[in-house]
């Protein structure tokens, strides 16, 4: 350690040695003239530089004592993790595509036939009016009764009142 000296050509203080050894922003400080004349200060500056460099290494704790093989093992672990992540995302993508394609095909299969015979189907789907039912020659009396019965059953199943004059009991 250097001591302060009151004279102008005093030894450099620790703070000055630190400033020379570790310039604040990396830009070298102006070298004091004393340094070129004083062997003790030159050696002290070297000590500060070496000590600071070793501190940088020592400050990484256990990491500073790892061997190349230790590091290699950790790098391998990272690469394996990346490969795994890559495999997961690669295998997930085709599955999502397959589901999307299958869904599209299903929708198409359901919709296409309906679209092709759309006008005829729309006519067929329209409910027959009572007049049409009555006028229909092929709808016999028994069929018409069954039809009414089924409608009433559907009405009751839907929560309708069975105590009306046209209840099911008498018909069954």
């Amino acid at each position: 350690m250097n001591e302060h000296s009151p004279d102008t050509d005093r030894h450099l203080s620790d703070a000055e040695l630190f400033a020379l050894a570790v310039p604040a922003t990396g830009e070298p400080e102006a070298i004091p003239p004393h340094l070129s004349r004083c062997g003790a200060c030159s050696r002290a500056l070297r000590d500060w530089k070496v000590s600071f460099a070793s501190l940088a290494e020592a400050e990484t704790g256990q990491l500073g004592r790892r061997t190349d093989a230790d590091w290699r093992a950790r790098e391998d672990a990272t690469l394996e993790a990346i490969r795994r992540a890559g495999r997961t995302s690669r295998s997930a993508h085709p599955w999502r595509w397959a589901v999307a394609v299958a869904a599209s095909l299903l929708v198409a299969a359901l919709l296409l036939p309906g679209l092709r015979r759309a006008p005829a189907a729309r006519i067929a789907a329209a409910p027959p009016t009572p007049a049409a039912v009555a006028a229909s020659p092929e709808l016999a009396e028994d069929d018409a009764a069954d039809d009414r019965l089924l409608r009433e059953a559907s009405f009751v199943a839907g929560g309708g009142d069975v105590d009306s004059g046209s209840g099911l009991e008498g018909r069954l």
Partner: protein, 191 residues
Amino acid sequence: MEVDETALIREIRKGRTELFEHFVRRYQRRLTRIAYRFLRDAGEADCAAQESFLRAYQSLGDFREGSTFETWLTRICINWCKDRLKRHRRVVFFHQAPARDDEDGEGPEDLAASTDPSPERRAAGREIRERLLEAMGTLSPRQRAVFEMKHFEEMSIPDIAEATGLDTGTIKSHLFRAARKIRERLEACRS
């Protein structure tokens, strides 16, 4: 031979994912050291480095050509460390060093001793390191982080700025203030 990393990234984006190994082999040690400076735990630093590589790999599409991969990766890592510290509600962030894991085996003094045979110089080196560590303990967490990135990891000021999301003026200011605080502490110890 210098590798054109931007070209390498282009190839990886095209599907040659095996080329990513270059980055892991080249930067994992450095990245782990940087993470350690934030987290002060070797296991967590390993985790931070691995997670940073994974994130970088998965978001390689976000990498802007023109910046360097190393800086981009460092930024990912620093953000990861900050998140980690926030999650664990650790106020420590670089200010006070929690129990260092270098208590067994060689300490800092022994590391220097192996390169300097003179007992006097070894003693001088040990004293300098102790005083430096003590003086660095007075730095604010952010000052210490920036100081260590600059002087221990030898990162450039623009790289530190990009990695931390601060501007270069702020980084310089942190560095000047950190150096001044250390000098003041060293003077105070002497008087």
